[in-house]
Amino acid sequence: MTSKYLSKNARISTLKMVHKAKASHVASALSIIDILAVLYSEVMNIDPDEPFLVDRDRFILSKGHACAGVYAVLAELGFIQKESLTTYGEDFSILMNHISHKVPGVEFSTGSLGHGLPFGVGKALAATRLQKSWLTFVLLSDGELQEGSNWEALMFAAHHKLDNLVVIVDNNNLQSLTTVEETVNIQSLKEKVLAFGWEVRDVDGHNHEQVKANLSQIPWQTDKPSLLIANTIKGKGVSFMENRVEWHYRSPTDEQLKLALWELEQKDA
């Protein structure tokens, strides 16, 4: 399955799930779907038939509220049944509205920001000490970098030369109430993380070729962890959701869903 095909289908599933569940965070999920599609189809060593394959690469979604995108990708790849997506957020479903480790293929539950990277550091450190060759990928939001625990982990990972650890920042410049810039500015992120001793690159987070080219050659520098700033558009793929802060919370109406799906269908896979 190509990453483009995967991302198109995952966007469609995400919209349907969020609409049916009347849930929030649709724009947060649309923001990361291209990154997820590239990771899951082109980069990571994973096997849907063996979600806990010993040598699999580990992926942690630290911005757990964007879980609909991950569930949609996992369903496309066969980790979970596509039909199960309709239970998203329903009573007794495993598909909780923040990412849940009870779902096959999910390593770690999050929902409170600032937990994924320190946890990933523990995994990467374990791999180093146990001489394992798998990689740990952690996807953070940009607003999440306001949490201090991330900076503890950034410092520690560089100090311990964890070059098997990759952080991807979903840099869409929107958080809960307004832009990141207006809330508590995290820029200049690249210079900050470089100063912490990481190797840092930035790409268009919706350009599959660019994302793949960078994530397929880890480490970028021996003895240094890698951080990819993925410049993204929150709500990507649905014109009336793109770059609109209200879609952090809003759930599409029937009409809006129809329009959004129509827009997505017009795009090439």
């Binding site: 770690f108 946890f119 550091v121 995994k123 146990l130 982990a153």
Partner: protein, 294 residues
């Protein structure tokens, strides 16, 4: 207690390659035997308890049984959500170790007094609290935890606590360890370092000389239902704890007896009084003042 902790952990780590120790830049002249013998399984996380705890969970998810070690509130309250979400919710084998339980750090002040830690830990559904009463119980707790890896909290005193057991007792969650049967159907029930206080009260105070002494080193939310059977064997159970009453050990006991009011009547208790937070004093002074009316 902390010396018994490191001695026992070193012994257990020799036959268990999954044991790892992470310190939060504390443990001078305590943790070196482990660090020297197992450099690949020792880490100093620096002064960063949130990262230390989540990282421990990450390592535990890859097969390690990780012990995080620091003083009083630093490995607990400072990173309470990391313990709640990353360790307890995921049922990962991380043992949070705090030295300086209660007011053991005395005149270092309120920042160093662990007097609300039970309240935090016993509110977590998968957490096993290990609160040993003497160095032998420290070893017993460690042996239990290493044989049964799970989210856990080991509360230690400092150093130099008297030893009451002649050998390492075999212990199990929710089960009282009887140190002295006494000459009546009244007993002290302690958890942690207040075992010493019960032993001393029995010697020094006439009102309590006939009391038995029991210690409960392993407890937590899952074991509340075992209390009534234990309490039912006594006419009076007097609890001693170096913790505030609110959310403490005595409160846990009484909650376990809620459906049997006749058993609640048998409970009396001494807790740390509220005002210890605002006093500068050595630990002995704080302990006596805090546990007054005994």
């Amino acid at each position: 207690m902390r010396n018994a902790f490191i001695d026992e952990l070193v012994v257990l780590a020799r036959s268990n390659p999954q044991i790892a120790l992470i310190v939060g830049d504390l443990g001078w002249s305590v943790v070196e035997p482990f660090a020297d013998e197992f450099p690949d399984r020792f880490l100093n996380a620096g002064v960063a308890e949130q990262n230390m705890t989540s990282m421990a969970a990450g390592m535990a998810s890859e097969g390690y049984h990780v012990f995080t070690y620091s003083i009083a509130n630093f490995p607990t309250f400072r990173c309470a959500e990391q313990i709640r979400n990353d360790v307890d919710y995921h049922k990962l084998p991380v043992t949070v170790v705090a030295v300086g339980g209660g007011v053991a750090y005395g005149n270092l002040g309120y920042s160093h007094h662990a007097v609300q830690d039970y309240a935090l830990m016993r509110s977590l559904p998968n957490m096993l609290i290990a609160s040993p009463g003497d160095p032998m119980e420290v070893r017993a707790c460690l042996r239990y935890l290493v044989s049964n890896p799970q989210p856990s909290y080991l509360r230690l005193g400092k150093a130099g606590e008297p030893q009451y057991h002649n050998e390492v007792p075999v212990i199990s969650p929710g089960e009282w360890v009887i140190l002295d049967k006494g000459q009546s159907s009244n007993t002290f029930l302690t958890t942690g370092a207040t075992l010493q206080l019960a032993m001393e009260a029995k010697q020094k105070l006439r009102d309590y000389c006939d009391h038995g002494v029991a210690s409960l080193p392993l407890w937590g939310m899952r074991y509340k239902s075992m209390i009534s059977e234990m309490v039912g064997g006594f006419e009076r159970v007097h609890i001693l704890e170096d913790h505030f009453q609110d959310g403490g050990f005595g409160s846990w006991v009484v909650e376990g007896l809620m459906s049997q009011p006749e058993l609640v009547q048998r409970i009396s208790a001494n807790h740390l009084s509220r005002d210890v937070y605002d006093i500068v004093a050595k630990s002995d002074t704080l302990w006596k003042r805090g546990l007054s009316n005994l």
